[in-house]
């Protein structure tokens, strides 16, 4: 199998240019590419369009890239757990495109799957339907939505192998598999990196064909937004 391993996050993101369109996996702070985000902070590129379900918090996740003003536009379903985000949005420094979560995940899936457009009921009759084609099927109305693709996708998995195969853990899977398929270049960071052949082919969540670079991430913080316990 083709070896896709790079040494570090810095080497993985080396060619991401200013004004790139990125996809970043994760739901809230769960399953986000912590190492790649740090490498982008260090690299200091600007004008990024980030497609990600959420925008992190002030001091973690994509929120860090907002602090450094590296993000020009967010495409998300839910944002603003995050004061700096709110400030930039209200001041017009940041563009935001809000998309229903199911439509967002399906548009990304469509991007990876070569489906340029599909019909979905979400948002029919609401303001997000403005300017969109409406069609009725079996007596119900649907909106036509188009695919989303990215120059680079940054995903985070639990285990990965040198051929780029990925296995996620728990609900940290979320948007990562679709984004892996929808990026022209997909960079995967993993907690555990093993030689090709060690993962069970039947348990792979993201086949290696979708991953161009893979590296072992370090110092995962895995911050919890709502630590909720019972006695």
């Amino acid at each position: 199998m083709i070896n896709k391993v790079v040494e570090s996050a810095d080497k993985a993101v080396f060619d991401i240019p200013d004004n790139a369109t990125l996809m970043l996996g994760g739901f809230g702070l769960c399953g986000i590419p912590e190492n790649s985000i740090k490498a982008l902070l260090k690299k200091g590129i600007h004008g990024l369009t980030c497609i990600s379900n959420n925008a992190g918090v002030d001091d973690f996740g994509i929120g860090l890239m907002l602090q450094t003003r590296q993000v020009k536009k967010m495409i998300s379903s839910y944002v603003g757990e995050n004061a700096e985000f709110e400030r930039q949005l209200l001041s017009g420094e940041l563009e935001v495109d809000l998309i229903p979560q199911g439509t967002l995940s399906e548009r990304i899936r469509a991007g990876g799957a070569g489906i340029p457009a599909f019909f979905t009921p979400a948002g029919y009759g609401t303001e997000i339907a403005e300017g969109k084609e409406v069609r009725e099927f079996d007596g119900k109305n649907y909106l036509l939505e188009s695919w989303l693709r990215a120059d680079f996708s940054l995903v985070k998995a639990w285990k990965g192998d040198t051929a780029g195969n990925l296995i996620y853990k728990g609900t940290a899977r979320n948007f990562n598999p679709m984004m892996a398929a929808a990026g022209k270049i997909t960079i995967a960071e993993v907690e555990e990196l093993v030689p090709a052949g060690e993962l069970d082919p039947n348990q792979i969540h993201t086949p290696g064909i979708y991953v161009q670079r893979i590296f072992k991430g370090q110092d995962y913080e895995k911050r919890i937004e709502q630590r909720t316990t019972r006695l």
């Binding site: 702070l29 979560q101 979905t120 009921p121 979400a122 979320n174 909720t228």
Partner: protein, 224 residues
């Protein structure tokens, strides 16, 4: 006396059918899980990719990689499954989830719902709400009958930007249980204990349909 949030959650729990798959929204809907009768088996779906949400974890069980749609740490029930976000909404959009329970800021008499945006306030996004309301066969809304300033939230037409049209079938408020009829109108089914029909009338701006005697809710569900 008007119900508190716990009361609303308890009343909604009575609507839950054995063997159903349910998506619970954030807020009061999440509380409903606590009042599902012991003899009823349901599976809770979390739109971030989990079927079979269990109780909140004990401190030592907390796993950052296992959260619900409200970003709270959770556990899994035996027989759970994990999947990606596209699969999760395929499940929702495809009509596989039997019941969706969610909160609302306004509901109109033809079943429109507004629960994602207040003009002039910071817009945080619709999350999965538009997908849920556009897809679900059966939606129950948990809400206060009136706003803090005393305005009715059960309206002829929603004044806020809507999340979905003609989708709400049943509403449980602090004052009443109501169905939304296919032809439009809030049909009053039950009153909260001690709340009069007149009180409900005064609190409902949209078309209220009252037929015969309106019984009081029964809330004697064993607390779990």
């Amino acid at each position: 006396m008007a119900l508190d949030k716990i009361g609303i959650a308890k009343r909604i729990a009575q609507e839950i059918k054995d063997g159903s798959y349910i998506n619970l929204g954030i807020g009061i809907p999440t509380l409903v899980a606590n009042f599902i009768p012991k003899n009823i088996e349901v599976v809770l779906q979390s739109e971030n990719g989990l079927l079979g949400i269990g109780p909140f974890p004990h401190e030592e069980e907390v796993d950052a990689d296992l959260i619900n749609a409200g970003k709270q740490t959770v556990t899994m029930q035996p027989g759970s499954s994990l999947f990606n976000s596209a699969e999760s909404f395929a499940m929702i959009r495809g009509g596989h989830v039997d019941l969706t329970i969610l909160g609302a800021m306004e509901v109109s008499e033809n079943g429109d719902i507004a629960n994602w945006k207040i003009p002039g306030k910071m817009v945080k996004g619709m999350g999965g709400a538009m997908d849920l309301v556009a897809s679900a066969d059966h939606i129950i809304v948990a809400m206060q009958h009136k706003s803090r300033s005393g305005q009715s939230k059960l309206l002829k037409n929603c004044t806020l930007p809507i999340t979905g049209i003609k989708c709400v079938k049943k509403i449980v408020t602090d004052l009443a249980v109501l169905d939304i009829l296919p032809e439009g109108g809030f049909k009053l089914l039950e009153r909260a204990p001690g709340v009069s029909v007149d009180e409900i009338k005064n609190a409902t701006e949209g078309k209220l349909i009252i037929e015969g005697e309106i019984p009081e809710m029964k809330l004697e569900v064993a607390k779990v």
